[in-house]
């Protein structure tokens, strides 16, 4: 069983983690095309090479990001999500919205 190094808890068995999919860019929720949105919702890139993925350490309820080489089956680096997401994210109101 693989070991994943949790930035909060140190090296733990991978069975303690839940896979959360690839870290992907969120298209603009109101103005993107249906095709772009469907791509975001349904399609995984399945990259052969280095990927960035979400992993959740279930016992401590902690989401992390792992960089993994899918060809060599090696975890390159793990780090807190705040390294990629450091700013408060805001969503613009939908074009026809009047109030929230």
């Amino acid at each position: 069983m693989k070991i994943l190094n949790c930035p909060l808890n140190g090296p733990r068995n991978i069975s303690e983690f839940v896979y959360g999919g690839e870290v992907v860019e969120h298209p603009e929720p109101h103005t993107s095309s249906n095709a772009e949105w469907a791509d975001y919702v349904f399609l995984e890139n399945n990259t052969a090479g280095v990927v960035r993925e979400w992993w959740y350490h279930a016992p401590t309820a902690y989401w992390i990001i792992a960089e993994r080489d899918t060809v060599k089956d090696e975890v390159i680096r793990t780090y807190p999500a705040s390294e990629l997401f450091s700013e408060r994210m805001a969503y613009p109101a939908p074009p026809e919205a009047e109030e929230s």
């Binding site: 069983m1 693989k2 070991i3 068995n13 839940v18 959360g20 969120h26 929720p29 109101h30 993107s32 249906n34 949105w37 469907a38 975001y40 919702v41 349904f42 979400w54 959740y56 279930a58 309820a61 902690y62 989401w63 089956d73 999500a81 705040s82 997401f85 450091s86 700013e87 408060r88 994210m89 969503y91 613009p92 109101a93 939908p94 919205a97 009047e98 109030e99 929230s100």
Partner: protein
């Protein structure tokens, strides 16, 4: 004592003071405590343990250590027990496998006479086409093939699992492994030494490393004592490491326990498999590896024969001859396929004892007894070239042939770890080319064959592994002797071509599968010259011994036949497990943990029938099982007419604190929460990014910056995970806490609920003005700090009361006591299902599935379309634009006497399935059968009729009605 028993010190594992009786094939046999089935039988003169797979030829001890299929027997209900590993026990019942009419007169042996009609690949060719006769053949083959008889009523034993951790794990407790463990332990590392056999020492227990046997015995005693004295070495004997998994995760099997070991560094010191020689009749009982004869003598005190021909292509073979001589076996001759050279110490000792040594000569054929039950002689011949022999044969009478022609490293674990091996022509063996990180090898698996070489190699590996595991390992150990990696001054112990095909066959390459040299050559001639294809077509190496003895000769034959080198030919892939595993080890104990609420014991005391709901135990109903339906009806009526109480502790409870709390809920859930007033609850509906409904509950706003959100039973973990996932990206200023287990909760519901609660509550005004429907308050109930939420899943006046878990029973008791005047009745989830159905409330995952979006479930009212964003918002918009494919509706049956459809009964129109029933029950209060079902959009208008197919294909008619079925104006819950 039988004639074949030797005196002590031979027989280190047996206790001659403890005789043990058992039966084999119905006959009584005796042995001593510590004997294996095979050693006890051999001491009793019983050489045949099994019949071969295809030709049903008699087979006996080959390796003496559980590495071959010859020794597979059935012990009681247990199939495929290794007779040369399993100790005998008093009264043990041992039977042969794969025999028809007994081991002695197996009528399956007629198959041997048909051998010429069953060429390699016979099954594939004969039964490929036409298909229909296969069904007849299959019956025959099912009987002929497979080993052992499974008893379906066998009692499952107790098996368990344990975790282990080590800085350095050493697999194999032979000389190299012991040296490695001692060296690694010097650094302070915690060392785990894993040995498959009963005692440490490996070959030191049985092999003859010198002409004088004493130094090796002394060496073993010294090393063992040193290991015992070392506190940071833990030894597991009788423990098998059955595979290597990523990041040094190793399954170890000891008795009925599986250990899961995680080690920082692993040293593979697993030794090697002694290899057989291919000649005619090389499979007869009485023909065994040199090491097998030595094990029988030294471990069990059994003399393996009376007169032997010894094949020795290395110094170890001469050690075998010396051991046989010391055990009183008459050694007729030693045949050595190598040219005569400067004799080694052991060879000189053999010659001194008057045994003829014949060089450049091997056994061409073993002469069998009648019925092939043993050996009566060996025909030997001079070698004229690689695999070729002179015509002249000399015959020696013998009842034992020992074979010592080389070794094949036990590199299974190295293969599992994706280490690389390559064939070394000079060494005539596969050697380690490259090891992965944190994995080390020592001893004969790493080509260190002599005792000194193995010890040196162990010290080096122990040093390197300790260093790798992060310990101060000190100076690199220096080699104490020369000639590491070889035997007796530079010679390899491996004879490069121990294959002497015979024109009359029965020259077995694979004993498990009864494959002869011609079978391998024929398969190659038919085009299966790729090693993986050759294996699958011929089945070489696919038997129980997994190619331990057949892989090397078959690769050699394939390489030669195709004009390639062995490296070009390659080997097949070795995968876990190393040895057969029992299902008991994999299954372990049956362990299905469930959670109990704080009120669990109150339910039991009240006579509840408990059931599993998600992870939880919940009351299904209260009262005796005989009157189940009446109990449930009474519970329903108590709620509708009086007052009932239900444990809702299993609902998820999530606290959301912080300045962005409302904004956070606004993004997570579909409804709008920014303007939700303090002191009010609001429905929450969660969809995922594809717009599918995943959970629901209520959000109670206790303060501007604090919401308490409920989730479904079983949904809490996933909701919490989802919330954290999104906020890892949004970075809103909130703190989210899963407090599910911190609160016990009850819902007290019914027209008299307020009267009961009022008796216990003096700091919260409960009247409809002060605490209206969907109002929330914090206060005290029976003096217990409580959150009071006025909601009603069941459609009556009701209060959900959440208190700290530790106070759950006190709250329950107080409410039961306060409601005694009104005959308050606890109700279970069966009653609740009917009550909520009457109100038309859906249950997530029962009335929704993995594709249900809010419009389908008629929940557009719960979508706030003007807010900037919620998870699933865009997908729901797209789905709505694309048009509905189905809709969830309430229905009643048109004919009141029709039987109630069940959940998942289909809605059918003509030849088309347009939907299915998701919930259905008989409502006493409405005197109707009511339900929820998905139907096509054009069937969903009120008053439309549709047909449901129920049991036995009967069609019944249902009519769409408005929801809710009961109290459509909500007067009762809002009073």
């Amino acid at each position: 004592m039988s004639a074949a028993r030797l005196d002590a010190p031979a027989g280190t594992l047996i206790d001659r003071d403890q005789p043990v009786e058992f039966t084999f094939e119905g006959r009584r046999h005796g042995g001593f405590a510590g004997d294996t089935i095979a050693s006890a039988l051999m001491a009793d003169g019983e050489l045949v343990l099994s019949r071969s797979f295809k030709y049903h030829r008699p087979r006996g001890v080959l390796t003496g250590c559980g590495q071959d299929a010859n020794s597979l027997v059935q012990v009681g209900d247990q199939t495929n027990v290794l007779a040369d590993r399993r100790p005998i026990e008093a009264g043990m019942v041992v039977e042969a496998q794969n025999v028809f009419g007994g081991l002695e007169n197996d009528y399956g042996s007629w198959l041997g006479f048909l051998a010429r009609f069953m060429p390699v690949g016979f099954y594939y060719k004969a039964f490929y086409k036409p298909y229909s006769p296969w069904r007849l053949w299959e019956k025959l083959f099912r009987r002929l093939t497979g080993l052992g008889v499974v008893n379906p009523d066998a009692i499952h034993g107790y098996y368990d699992k344990q975790y282990l951790f080590a800085d350095v794990a050493v697999i194999g407790g032979g000389p190299a492994g012991m040296a490695a463990a001692l060296q690694a332990a010097k650094s302070g590392a915690e060392v785990l030494l894993i040995e498959e056999n009963k005692t440490l020492g490996g070959a030191l227990n049985y092999a003859r490393f010198d002409a004088d046997p004493k130094p090796a015995a002394k060496r073993r005693a010294e090393l063992t004592a040193k290991i015992e004295r070392t506190d940071n070495i833990r030894v597991l004997t009788d423990a098998l490491c059955n595979g290597w998994f990523t990041d040094n995760w190793l399954p170890l099997f000891q008795g009925n326990r599986m250990f899961k070991l995680r080690a920082a560094a692993v040293i593979v010191a697993t030794g090697s498999y002694e290899q057989p020689m291919v000649f005619r009749n090389n499979d007869l009982p009485g023909i065994m590896m040199g090491s097998a004869a030595q094990r029988m003598i030294h471990l069990y005190g059994v003399r393996p024969g009376k007169r032997a021909v010894v094949v020795a292509a290395n110094s170890d073979g001469y050690g075998v001859a010396l051991d046989l001589l010391d055990a009183g076996v008459d050694v007729a001759c030693v045949v050595d396929p190598r040219p005569a050279a400067e004799p080694c110490e052991r060879q000189s000792a053999v010659a001194l004892r008057g045994v003829p040594v014949i060089h450049e000569t091997v056994i061409a054929e073993a002469v069998a007894t009648r019925g092939n039950r043993g050996v009566v002689g060996a025909r030997i011949a001079r070698i004229t070239g690689e695999g070729t022999l002179a015509k002249t044969r000399d015959r020696f009478a013998c009842d034992l042939i020992t074979v010592s022609v080389g070794y094949h490293g036990t590199a299974n674990l190295i293969h599992h770890a994706r280490g690389a091996m390559r064939y070394d022509e000079a060494e005539a063996a596969f050697v380690i080319d490259k090891l992965p990180a944190h994995l080390f090898a020592a001893g004969s698996v790493n080509s260190a064959y002599s005792l000194e070489a193995a010890l040196n190699d162990g010290h080096l590996a122990g040093w390197a592994a300790a260093k790798d595991a992060g310990f101060e390992a000190g100076r690199k150990p220096t080699a104490k002797a020369k000639g590491a990696g070889t035997m007796d001054g530079g010679a390899s112990p491996n004879y490069p071509w121990p294959i002497f095909a015979h024109p009359d066959g029965k020259d077995f390459v694979d004993f498990d599968e009864d494959l002869q040299t011609a079978d391998i050559l024929n398969a190659i001639a038919e085009g299966y010259d790729n090693i993986e294809l050759l294996k699958r077509f011929s089945t070489v190496g696919m038997g129980p011994s997994q190619g331990r003895h057949s892989s090397l000769p078959s690769v050699r034959i394939a390489a030669k036949a195709t004009g390639r080198t062995i490296n070009e030919t390659g080997t097949t892939t070795s995968r876990p497990p190393v040895s057969a595993e029992t299902f008991g080890h994999l299954a372990g104990r049956s362990f299905e943990p469930v959670r109990e609420t704080a009120l669990h014991h109150r339910h039991i005391e009240a006579g509840a029938k408990m059931m599993v709901a998600g992870q939880w135990m919940r009351p299904e109903y209260y009262g005796p099982a005989e009157s189940r339906d009446a109990n449930i009806r009474a519970e329903i009526m108590a709620v509708r007419e009086n007052v009932g109480i239900i444990d809702v502790s299993t609902l998820g409870g999530i606290e959301v604190h912080g300045p962005d709390a409302a904004e956070f809920l606004n993004r997570i859930y579909t409804f709008a929460y920014i303007k939700q007033p303090v002191g009010r609850a609001r429905y929450v509906l969660m969809t995922d990014q594809t717009g599918v409904i995943t959970d629901d509950g209520v959000a109670c706003r206790f303060r501007d910056n604090h919401f308490y959100v409920t989730a479904t039973t079983g949904g809490a973990g996933a909701v919490y995970q989802t919330m954290l996932f999104y906020n890892a990206q949004w970075r809103l200023d909130v703190c989210v806490i899963n407090s599910t287990a911190s609160y016990a909760g009850v819902n007290i519901a019914g027209p008299k609920a307020r009267d009961v609660l009022a008796r216990l509550c003096d700091d919260v005004a409960l009247d409809g003005e002060a605490l209206p429907y969907m109002g929330v308050r914090e206060g005290h109930v029976a003096g217990i700090p409580a959150r009071i939420i006025r909601i009603g899943f069941v459609g009556e006046l009701g209060y959900e009361i959440h208190v700290p878990s530790s106070q759950g029973e006190a709250l329950w008791d107080a409410l039961m006591d306060a409601g005694s005047e009104e005959n308050i009745l606890p109700f279970g989830i069966e009653a609740q299902r009917v009550l909520r159905l009457e109100k038309g409330h859906i249950i997530i995952n029962q009335d929704t599935d993995g594709l249900t979006h809010p419009h389908e479930a008629d929940m557009a009212w719960a979508l706030a379309r003007k807010k900037p964003y919620f998870v699933g918002m865009r997908s729901i918009a797209i789905q709505l634009a694309n048009g509905l494919e189905r809709k969830l509706v309430g229905f009643i049956l048109v004919e009141p006497d029709d039987p109630a459809p069940k959940e998942c009964h289909l809605v059918i129109r003509g030849t088309e399935i347009t939907g299915r029933v998701t919930s259905c029950a008989r409502s006493e209060i409405l005197n109707k059968i009511i339900g929820l079902a998905y139907v096509a959009p054009d069937q969903s208008e009120i008053g439309k009729r549709f047909e449901i197919k129920i049991e036995q294909g009967r069609m019944i008619t249902a009519e769409v009605v408005a929801l809710p079925f009961y109290d459509p104006d909500g007067k009762r819950q809002e009073m």
